[in-house]
Symmetry: C2
Subunit: 349 residues, 2 copies
DNA sequence: ATGAAAGCGCTAACAG
DNA sequence: CTGTTAGCGCTTTCAT
């Protein structure tokens, strides 16, 4: 548990100055091959390893290779896929990702943001759970680019990569309406989140255009985890009259809904060919469409409004990289499309 | 885009020495309340933010609050749930997680490990894809604790949190054998991974104990992604005679298998009560059991050998924290249990 | 209660 | 090609 060797020790062992050792190891050049070899072997012998934080300190503010990501919880596939896409793209440019989960707690988010900024991250990607972001205005002036993902900044202009929540939700509602449904239950996440509000709005737009004025009677909100969602769906289905269809506004809620309405055993299917033949429609069960694709959505036959979280991460990385590259144009806002995938849970009756 | 204010600037603005400013802001004490307030307001005015890396440099080696995680790919729920459990536990102790994905590429892993060590992470949690780890021996002497997760260290003694792969796979095979199956296909991940090998071994043990000598005829390996797995399963089912059951050795392979054999539409189920009544057995389709729980495994009715990735992360955190706390006892090895969850894909005929 | 000086490990700037 | 000096932003002495 001896402490780590410094460059000075390597220099001493190889009988050169610290600067020469530095040059030899960082490949700066202008070092005799023979000297370089001597320094290298001394470094190996001591188990020397560059102290990157010291280097960054000396080189000045903007040399860190760290990018921070603030998101809800990595266990949610939406966030982990976002993180995956982001990390992959950053890595191609020599940057590393440091993640922090807020659990949708604004207080935690604030604290974690501070912590990442103290670490002098090169930039910050944030799926924010806070109501406003004015406090970050000062940071931007000090040169830390922010990219907002999934949810837009409030009281702050900054780059953002968002989803077409409103359009996607509207499409979901229209799809159910086309199938003849009128009593459509809608179960949503935390009501304070803009994504939730946008999805409800899009839904409302379609419902009202179709002349369904009392859609709010079947709206349930703040179902933030799978269990709450399952209970909410059960409650909704126990109403009289019960809804004939459901729109669940994110992956966890859809999962909860499937537990409530769809806990059916795996149907027998001897081979792939057999399976293909079994394309029976959903019949008269409760129809369902969810926002967000699910891992086994295709196997289960769940209709969804799909989009690509990895792509969102890649886009965020690209916006950030452009800023780091000196782009000081106006804030950009990228809105990623969603697409309806019709599967058996909304098959025509 | 002005550069960040330093403590010296805060000190200058408030008319005190750098050290006093430091004391005031870091809450060290021994500062007049009035002075402290003055420094604080100067800091606010300038938008001062502590440079944590400078602090850590001055305070000496072991003060970083960063812990590194090396894993395959965050998009895989196994890794993201591991990361989630790990991060949550670390956060409770003031530590932050920095993640790096290796994509199961040993060369990348080596490079990323170096990078994390250069950043002077406090410790490293690694789901390694490398064949041996002797090169890390030197690091441990310099005081960087390693915790191996999912896969054990080779040529190195270090703490590890592993799964009972052998026992779980054996249980899976026994379960299928109990259901009367003899021709059981087994589809595995990269053959060089120890987890894969252990699972095949456990499977083999049960098969041979049951007198099925030619089980290897139905073994397919290196199905590392969902598409490859799907093709492998199709190939297996096209054999003559075809296997009557499948054991898929991880979550991605199980997903591929479900796509190959189970692409059946969602069955109609009006209410939860209805659904409960529909408990028909799997019938004469190909039976299936997978290693790793799936997100919608219960809804789909897929039998699995389940375990808890989050718990693995928490355990890893605890081992690491103990080391950071000075524990220098012998290397610990925690083996987490698996459990069989019987669902409809292996229901009795 | 406050300050001056030194130094963490490294590299930029300027010699030679 | 190599070395010296200075300093990144902070905190640890050690004074006062």
């Amino acid at each position: 548990m001896s402490s780590r060797p410094s460059l000075a020790q390597v220099a001493a062992l190889s009988g050169v100055s610290v600067k020469t050792a530095s040059r030899a190891l960082s490949g700066e050049g202008y070092v005799a091959v023979e000297t370089k070899a001597r320094v290298q072997s001394a470094a190996d012998e001591l188990g020397y390893r560059l102290n990157r934080t010291a280097r960054e300190l000396r080189r000045g503010g903007n040399t860190s290779t760290l990018v921070g990501l603030l998101s809800g919880d990595l266990a949610n596939p939406f966030y982990s896929r976002l993180a995956s896409g982001l990390e992959r793209e950053l890595r191609m440019h020599g940057l590393q990702l440091i993640t922090a989960s807020t659990d949708e707690n604004p207080e935690w988010e604030r604290r974690l943001t501070d912590s990442l900024l103290e670490r002098r991250v090169r930039g910050l990607v944030v799926a924010s759970t806070m109501a406003e972001h004015g406090h970050l205005a000062a940071e931007r002036r000090h040169g830390s680019p922010f990219v907002f993902v999934d949810r837009p900044p409030v009281d702050l202009t900054a780059d953002a990569v968002l989803l077409d929540n409103r359009g996607g939700a509207k499409r979901a509602a229209e799809h159910l309406l086309e199938r003849g449904h009128r009593r459509i239950g809608i179960v949503g996440d935390l009501s304070r989140l803009s994504t939730h509000q946008d999805r409800v709005e899009g839904f409302a737009e379609a419902m009202e255009a179709a002349g369904v004025a009392d859609w709010r009677d079947y709206l349930l909100e703040d179902a933030h985890d799978v269990d709450k969602a399952e209970r909410a769906v059960r409650a909704l289905l126990a109403r009289d009259p019960a809804p004939t269809a459901l729109f669940t506004t994110n992956n966890r809620i859809t999962t909860g809904a499937l537990r409530a309405i769809g806990h059916t055993p795996f149907p027998a299917a001897a081979t792939a060919k057999d399976a293909a033949d079994k394309g029976t429609p959903a019949g008269k069960g409760t129809a369902l469409i969810g926002f967000d694709e699910l891992d086994l959505g295709d196997v289960l036959g769940v209709s969804v409004i799909a989009h690509d979280p990895e792509e969102m991460g890649r886009h965020a990385a690209r916006l950030l990289l452009a800023r780091l590259d000196g782009d000081d144009g106006p804030a950009r806002r990228v809105v990623l499309p969603t697409r309806l995938i019709e599967r058996s849970t909304t098959a025509p009756v």
